[in-house]
């Protein structure tokens, strides 16, 4: 039995580090935050909707993405997009390991920002560790300021998320004057709390205990996958690692004694945001942020020894074999990825501005009229997806002598985004020997504006 049933979190105080990967991570962070926080404010000229470039209008049941308008019936695009994202994630993981975790995951990005705030207010690792043990007004003030700033960032995050679902300038005003919808406050509140909890308090525990991807990503790894790894052969030599005490300061002296290049400074452990020692090998906690690479490179540069004691490599490369990137597994991910991407692009490119569907009324399938002719009824659904009004006429083809009856409705006018349902009847004086069932084609003809394509919908006519 373990000593305790429930273990308190072992606090981690990551130390600051400078280097190539840290710079890359800052750039990704700046880009991601720039897009996330500014996108709702990007204006986009629209005649019949809010002038917001990206707007997810739930009550109106449509999503605006720049010039693209997404309707509920386009749910297949979402399916395709999710398949693309999943396959892309799997393929990238297979080739390059946990790049998503290390550079792009919002847990990583927001934790990074929260740690940055922590560092600005409380100082670096050593100062924070000291402060954690202290009480008193100064320590309380610094800790309070940290949490206050965290909450501020969390609130900005929550509010920004909410702005994607309504016109941002209006919503912000409504939000702070108490006029916004309950959902806006609830969403902002929920995200403020979760952001504060996940990025401020829970941090690496989200990856180790909660994230499903962190748990199943290991099955996509193989010996060719790019991993952040300690070069044990170089670092440990035959006699292990050692601090650079007197007589062990140059590589020649160390190699003569069988010692490796690792001087056991512990910098790689101190910078680790998940609190592991990369020298223990590949571990499921490791999010591959590569900060330990920067740390070790800094130390090696100082010693004027070659970089790369901790580096991006693969198990095969570590064992002296070639790393293969192009293999059946990669192609197996790439083929469906390309296929579905092509399908999605074609689907989006071929959307029509006018949706029409015709369903035959089935109860009753047909009726005989007093003049002996047969009548079928149809429910015609029309949806104007264009951003301008249209005027439509209905025509019937495919069945000679059949007459279309739309009552007193001669033309259908639809405002942008309007949809309607129309009951229409078709009468047909059945000639002798006609088959039981015949095809008919409904033509939805846009009269105004000119130049729009006629939409043809096939249906059937039941004679008896």
């Amino acid at each position: 039995m373990p000593d305790t049933q429930y273990q308190a979190r072992i606090p981690i105080y990551p130390r600051a580090v400078k280097g190539r990967f840290r710079n890359l991570k800052w750039s990704v962070l700046a880009l991601a935050y720039g897009v996330y926080f500014l996108l709702p404010w990007l204006r986009w000229e629209r005649e019949h909707a809010a002038n917001q470039a990206v707007l997810f209008d739930i009550p109106g049941r449509r999503f605006y993405l720049f010039d693209l308008l997404v309707h509920p019936q386009d749910i297949f695009w979402l399916a395709a997009l999710l398949i693309i994202l999943a396959l892309l994630l799997f393929m990238v993981t297979g080739i390059a390991g946990r790049v998503f975790c290390g550079y792009f995951c919002f847990q990583t990005l927001w934790t990074d920002v929260f740690m940055l705030i922590e560092r600005w207010v409380q100082g670096d690792r050593a100062a924070r560790m000291r402060l954690a043990q202290q009480g008193g007004p100064r320590a309380m003030a610094l800790k309070g300021a940290t949490h206050g700033l965290w909450l501020l960032v969390a609130f900005a995050t929550g509010l920004t998320f909410t702005l994607y679902w309504a016109n941002a300038p209006d919503l912000v005003v409504a939000f702070f004057t108490g006029q916004a919808a309950f959902a806006a406050y609830a969403t902002t509140g929920f995200l403020t709390i979760t952001t504060y909890l996940l990025a401020g308090l829970l941090r690496e525990q989200v990856c180790t205990y909660m994230c499903p991807y962190a748990r199943f990503q290991s099955v996509m790894f193989d010996k060719d996958t790019l991993i952040v790894s300690y070069d044990a052969a170089r670092g440990e030599g035959s006699e292990g690692r050692s601090k650079p005490v007197r007589g062990l300061r140059s590589r020649e002296e160390r190699q003569a004694r069988g010692l490796g290049d690792c001087i056991d400074c512990g910098y790689c452990v101190q910078v680790c945001p998940v609190g592991i020692d990369i020298r223990d090998g590949l571990q499921y906690q490791c999010i591959h942020c590569a900060l330990c690479v920067d740390a070790c490179d800094t130390v090696m540069d100082g010693l004027k020894w070659p970089r790369g004691l901790v580096r991006y490599t693969s198990e095969n490369a570590l064992e002296g074999r070639r790393t293969r990137y192009f293999k059946p597994k990669t192609l197996g991910y790439a083929a469906p990825l390309v296929l579905i991407t092509v399908l999605l692009v074609l689907g989006i490119a071929h959307q029509t501005p006018l949706d029409a569907s015709v369903s035959q009324v089935r109860q009753p399938l047909f009726v005989q009229l007093s003049d002996g002719s047969i009548q079928n009824s149809y429910e015609i659904r029309l949806h104007n997806k264009a951003q301008h009004p249209v005027v439509l006429e209905l025509r019937l083809t495919g069945l000679d002598g059949a007459a279309l009856d739309t009552g007193r409705i001669e033309r259908v006018s639809l405002m942008p985004e309007q949809r309607t349902t129309l009951l229409a009847r078709v009468r047909y004086d059945v000639p002798a020997g006609a088959p039981r069932q015949q095809g008919v084609v409904f033509e939805v003809v846009p009269v105004e504006p000119e130049g729009m394509d006629v939409v043809r919908v096939e249906s059937q006519f039941i004679l008896r």
Partner: protein, 311 residues
């Protein structure tokens, strides 16, 4: 059972006790402690359930249950009622004063304020009529007339064809719904003998365009048009029927009470009609004027008119 040993090789299990179980030679179950926050999460759910029990119906007690503190207030027929929280009351409230209910009532008012021509010529109003009418037809009419108004031979008239006994324009359909109808044809068992009924049947078939024995048709015509049968009083001399009496048009091949069009041969057709003349007809449609508002009847009548046979 427990050899609370250390996992020797794997660094991930460094210093972690195992449960002592081993599978496949070297697969061990590490006995890591749960994170403390997980325990807090558990306590939070406990507190949540306590609050929930306090607010909402929760525990069965004998033949009743704890009602909880929260309530639902809703209006029924202008009378305000308050009850303990339950989803049926929420539904009632939604149906009475929910956004959709209010919008529906608003639109119903629009239909009520519009003339018939405005409704029939406007796609939006017609779309509302068709959607609201479908629901009402299902509630009040479809039990007899069937979904879509196809009716049942011999019992309930077909509303989807253009053969109307009482008139098929919207106003008359609305009258029919409001006041109901009593369809009546007297029985002729005392008045006409079997042969006479057969002759009348032959004549009626000739009206609908069927061929038959000319002599029988002639004699049947005399009965139909003369005082003997007096059929023309309701069915009129040309057989097209008096709308005010609900007398069917006999000159087409649409039959409501007997399946003449589906009968095998002339004899079978005559037998069907002869039997109907012998028995008479008595059919009643109940009045809905006291159950539905004028606006609702207007919607329903327009919806029925849309089935296809409206005049």
């Amino acid at each position: 059972m427990s050899e609370s040993g250390q996992s020797p090789e794997a660094p991930a299990g460094k210093g972690v006790p195992t449960t002592g179980h081993t599978w496949d030679d070297n697969l061990r179950e590490l006995d890591n402690p749960l994170p403390r926050w997980w325990l807090w999460g558990f306590y939070a759910t406990v507190i949540f359930s306590l609050i929930y029990w306090l607010l909402y119906p929760a525990w069965p007690v004998a033949d009743t249950f704890t009602k909880g503190l929260s309530t639902v207030t809703f209006e029924v027929d202008g009378e305000e009622r308050t009850t303990h929280w339950n989803s049926r009351a929420l539904l009632v409230r939604d149906m009475q004063t929910g956004d959709s209910a209010l919008r529906q009532r608003e639109f119903l008012q629009v239909i009520d304020d519009s003339t018939l021509d405005e409704v029939l010529g406007d796609t939006n109003k017609l779309a509302f009529v068709n959607s609201y009418g479908r629901g009402m037809f299902g509630d009040f009419c479809a039990a007899c007339h069937q979904t879509g108004g196809a009716g049942l031979m011999g019992v309930y008239p077909n509303l989807a064809d253009d053969n109307w006994h009482w008139g098929g324009d919207v106003e008359t359909i609305a009258q029919t719904i409001t006041h109901g109808r009593l369809g009546f044809m007297p029985d002729y068992r005392e008045v006409l003998d079997e042969q006479q009924r057969d002759h009348v049947a032959a004549y009626v078939l000739s009206l609908a365009g069927y061929e038959g024995d000319a002599e029988k048709i002639a004699r049947g015509g005399e009965i139909f048009q003369g005082r003997e049968g007096g059929c023309h009083a309701c069915h009129r001399h040309d057989g097209t029927g008096l709308r005010s009496q609900g007398a069917p048009d006999l000159t087409n091949d649409i039959w409501q009470n007997i399946d003449v069009a589906g009968a095998e041969d002339d004899a079978a057709r005559r037998a069907l009609i002869s039997q109907l003349v012998h028995d008479g007809v008595r059919q009643e449609m109940p009045a809905f004027g006291d159950r539905l508002s004028d606006a609702e009847i207007k919607v329903l009548a327009t919806y029925v008119h849309q089935f296809g046979g409206g005049q």
